[in-house]
């Protein structure tokens, strides 16, 4: 049984929180540059240029790229032959978030109760989804998930008869209603199937894929490409000011579901798409 120390997890989580917020992913910068080459609208190119420039300035000025440093969301895979010593895994993750958001001068963006709304002061608690897997590793995937994109996300329980057309319609509707609000260009995560709650988790999990990576199943990959094209035909553009680049990427995850159900969840991510992974 391999042991992983509580303190190690705290340290690694803190570093992930800072890295996610200070440096845009390579896949994001590549996607911006690709979009800039293809974009026909001058306004859209101007916005994309500003976003590239912002990432450079953030590094020069030593600040996060965006002030909404987000909720800290974790998907964790704990190997069956691995155990955490010195404390509970979820406590270690929360302490890591407290440390990373404190040291990293990241914003405290959590309220302790949705109705009473008093800021917790340290961006905890983290939101953690835990899965037991084979092996002796602890893998932690982190997303700094901002409020703007999250607020324009949606879930609907479609009927099986609605089919792929129904799914597509709902996704396009969601992106259309979001308009400028979720800071396009977007990364669109879609969960199809599962239960009411698993559907949403699938959509969130799908956001962790690097931009440009297609589903392993070629049929689903084709649907991802089809949706990306149709979303970009909406013409919403960067910051909703018009253009060809409404979404940088679309990804779909599926799961078995009830014979009476076709749940669909659309979890939008803004262009920052802040994700980090560490394997311990």
């Amino acid at each position: 049984m391999r042991e992983i120390r509580y303190e190690t997890i705290v340290r690694e989580v803190a570093e992930m929180c800072k890295a996610a917020n200070y440096e845009l992913g390579e896949d994001v910068i590549t996607a911006f540059r690709k979009a800039l080459r293809a974009e026909r609208s001058e306004t859209a190119r101007d916005v994309l240029d500003q976003l590239v420039r912002n990432a450079e300035l953030a590094a020069e000025m030593r600040m996060p790229t965006c002030q909404d440093t987000g909720v800290a969301v974790f998907f964790v895979e704990l190997g069956a032959d691995c155990r955490v010593v010195g404390g509970l895994l979820q406590d270690a993750i929360c302490e890591g978030v407290r440390k990373g958001y404190g040291e990293g001068l990241l914003r405290a963006s959590m309220v302790g109760h949705p109705l009473r709304r008093v800021n917790t002061g340290d961006n905890t608690p983290a939101i953690i989804h835990l899965e037991l897997v084979e092996g002796d590793r602890l893998t932690m995937h982190m997303s700094a998930k901002g409020g703007g994109s999250e607020n324009m996300s949606a879930l609907r329980m479609l009927k099986p008869a609605d089919g792929w057309d129904g799914v597509k319609g709902f996704v396009l509707d969601t992106v259309r209603k979001a308009g400028p609000n979720a800071c396009p260009p977007l990364v669109v995560g879609i969960g199809i199937g599962g239960n009411f709650e698993t559907c949403a988790i699938l959509a969130k999990r799908s956001l962790f894929r690097p931009i440009g990576e297609r589903h392993a199943d070629p049929e689903i990959a084709a649907l991802e490409n089809e949706l990306l094209e149709e979303i970009n035909r909406l013409g919403i553009g960067p910051q909703g000011l018009g253009g060809d680049t409404t979404a940088l990427d679309v990804r779909i995850e599926t799961h078995p579901c009830h014979i009476a159900a076709l749940p669909v969840a659309v979890n939008l991510n803004c262009h920052a798409s802040r994700h980090r992974t560490v394997v311990l």
């Binding site: 420039r53 953030a58 030593r62 996060p64 965006c66 703007g148 013409g235 919403i236 909703g240």
Partner: protein
């Protein structure tokens, strides 16, 4: 495309000169306030209490910055989504607020109130936290310090790059781009 230089406080002439789609560089004082501060101000208005900021001719920036490092004027300071403040906005416009900066669309009631009270709503680039912070020269917390990132701040901005979304004539630039779902 031409750019207009505008200073705060906004007088009627400045406001009426702006049209949806105009590119603006704004300089002067703006007040940072978002969800929690707007709720408190709304309650103060209902109780007839004086507000912690002047409104006449002033501009509110919907922002909750990340903490500043030593030596920094402000942390990352891009706009938050304006629609969440829609509920509180007509009352502030009625009391003389002339400008708002944020990102995303406003609801119909706010668009009408902006025209009725002759004000203007600007969008700043969402996610451009460092770029926008680089145009902020002064940052002072002046009210509701207990709200942390949601406190009211008095900011001095210099050539803050904005686009007019809603003007005093009832126009909406996002709608003019003609894709928005209703």
């Amino acid at each position: 495309m031409g750019v207009v230089h505008i200073r705060t406080p906004l007088d009627e002439e400045s406001v009426l000169s702006l049209k949806a789609g105009d590119r603006v560089l704004l300089s002067g004082t703006v007040y940072a306030a978002r969800d929690a501060a707007h709720k408190r101000m709304s309650e103060m208005i209902d109780k007839g209490e004086p507000l912690p900021i002047p409104l006449q001719g002033q501009v509110i920036y919907y922002v909750g910055p990340s903490p500043a490092a030593p030596g920094q004027v402000i942390g990352a300071a891009g706009p938050t989504t304006s629609g969440r403040m829609d509920k509180y906005t007509p009352a502030l416009l009625a009391l003389g607020l002339k400008g708002m900066i944020g990102k995303g669309y406003r609801d119909e009631e706010v668009v009408k109130a902006i025209a009725r009270h002759k004000a203007v709503y600007f969008a700043a680039t969402g996610g451009a936290g460092a770029l926008l912070a680089s145009r902020i020269r002064k940052n002072e917390t002046i009210a509701f310090e207990d709200l942390g990132p949601e406190a009211i701040r008095k900011l001095e901005v210099e050539e803050f790059p904005l686009i007019v979304i809603n003007d005093a004539y009832g126009n909406d630039y996002y709608r003019q781009i003609a894709y928005r779902a209703d």
